[in-house]
Symmetry: C2
Subunit: 257 residues, 2 copies
């Protein structure tokens, strides 16, 4: 179960530098935490915007070097997008979910249903080059690596969440969701816990890391490189650790489709 | 635009009493705020669990008085649910979206796509009666009334969000979303704002009240009558006010369907 806290504090790390390939994010986080006048403690959760993780991992692609396949060219003509971008989208995807003019929704190879396979062309310092930023190769592994590196560097056992802004069926506006997580239960299973009156709970699975991701989005702002790291203090959990992959619903059990 | 804050604080009001029909929620909130050692300030956002709003508004229905229609009986046999509950679901809905054994997803008359029209049979103190709790008649109006009443009573202009736990397509686990909002922009439209490098933003609509609702859910816990009111301090916004109804995506513009 998750022991619900009475108070939570969220702090965006000030003056976070622009991130480039090879940067040591754990080091940058600890510097930012010090600038904020904090020290990381056991149980803190560090939420990182996907973009800085992707950049640190060298997921920036120069479009000039991308050769679109015939399939990508045909799809690009249908959705009215750059064929090189569409080529990257297809390489990152398992299947196309929706394709119409200006709309390309796919199932990302990670299982996420998303526009353009999460490939971002905004907020990227191109230095004149046309570039696209892919999602991290394995965001749960990225989160796990950061969790381990932070523990090694500062001694604290902190949760790590990598978030991204997602559009949603049926709802307008994006919200932050977790694409990577480590050191906490991304999905909390409450089946069997009683409610206030001793009856079994109706709602049994909680998207814990998604709620953390959304709360951190409130501080990251639109150009989320401006404040790409948020520390959440005060959360409590007492459930088995699990990655963000647990939040992806297998198609066979999707009641909404 | 929303000016993103550097810090946020969330406080669950302690020892909130069980709510009954006719209770003055604004009064109970101000008592709870005092117990927490706080005073409400301009810009604070008060998040209330849907259940207490519904109870205060007398939305508890005694199932013994519900006569299922033939349509409800037929559907109940299909989904293996209580025909009286299904009758209430149908009364609260525009259409059935999915019906299979143990699953009944509808479009609520408010436009929300949800299981069982949001009707809750857990956490309801029935005093021996079989009861069901419906959503508030008009959650945006409920939020607006609370916003006005809090302003009148304590002088502060606070945002009000009524949240509920929702299942989602493609994602496992529920998250808090906003079914009612007042005194803040539920949906923030950032179209035209530049990113860090001066290019137009790709992500242009933010589900602001949904992110607030999710953050508050982290403190409400499973039996959300335990901590049904959370004060969020530190949010900033500079966009036109708008209700939670703005978060409902018209089917015609839903890119994911």
């Amino acid at each position: 179960m998750v022991t619900t806290p009475a108070r939570l504090e969220l702090v965006a790390l000030p003056d976070f530098p622009l991130v480039a390939q090879g940067d040591d994010l754990a080091h940058l986080i600890l510097e930012g935490v010090a600038r904020a006048g904090l020290e990381l403690r056991d149980g803190d959760v560090v939420v990182l915007a996907q973009k800085i993780v992707s950049k640190a991992e060298g997921r920036l692609v120069d479009l000039a070097g991308v050769e679109p396949s015939p399939e990508a060219r045909a799809l690009a003509a249908q959705v009215l997008k750059d064929p090189r971008l569409v080529e990257l989208v297809l390489r990152e995807s398992r299947r196309v979910v929706r394709a119409r003019p200006h709309v390309l929704i796919v199932e990302h190879r990670l299982g996420l249903i998303m526009a353009n396979a999460g490939i971002d062309q905004s907020n990227v310092d191109a230095g004149g080059r046309e570039v696209a930023l892919l999602l991290p190769q394995d965001p749960d592994a990225s989160a796990h690596g950061l969790h381990a590196r932070l523990r090694e560097t500062c001694g604290a056992a902190v949760g790590v969440v990598i978030n991204d802004s997602f559009g949603r069926p049926w709802r307008r506006g994006t919200t932050g969701i977790a694409i990577g997580a480590a050191g906490l239960p991304a999905l909390v299973d409450r089946r069997g816990e009683p409610d206030l009156f001793g009856r079994p709970l109706q709602v049994t699975m909680i998207g814990f890391a998604d709620e953390i991701a959304a709360s951190a989005s409130l501080l990251m702002g639109p150009a989320d490189e401006g404040r790409p790291v948020v520390v959440v203090r005060g959360l409590q959990w007492n459930a088995p650790m699990g990655p963000a992959a647990d939040l992806i619903r297998p198609e066979a059990e999707d009641l909404f489709r």
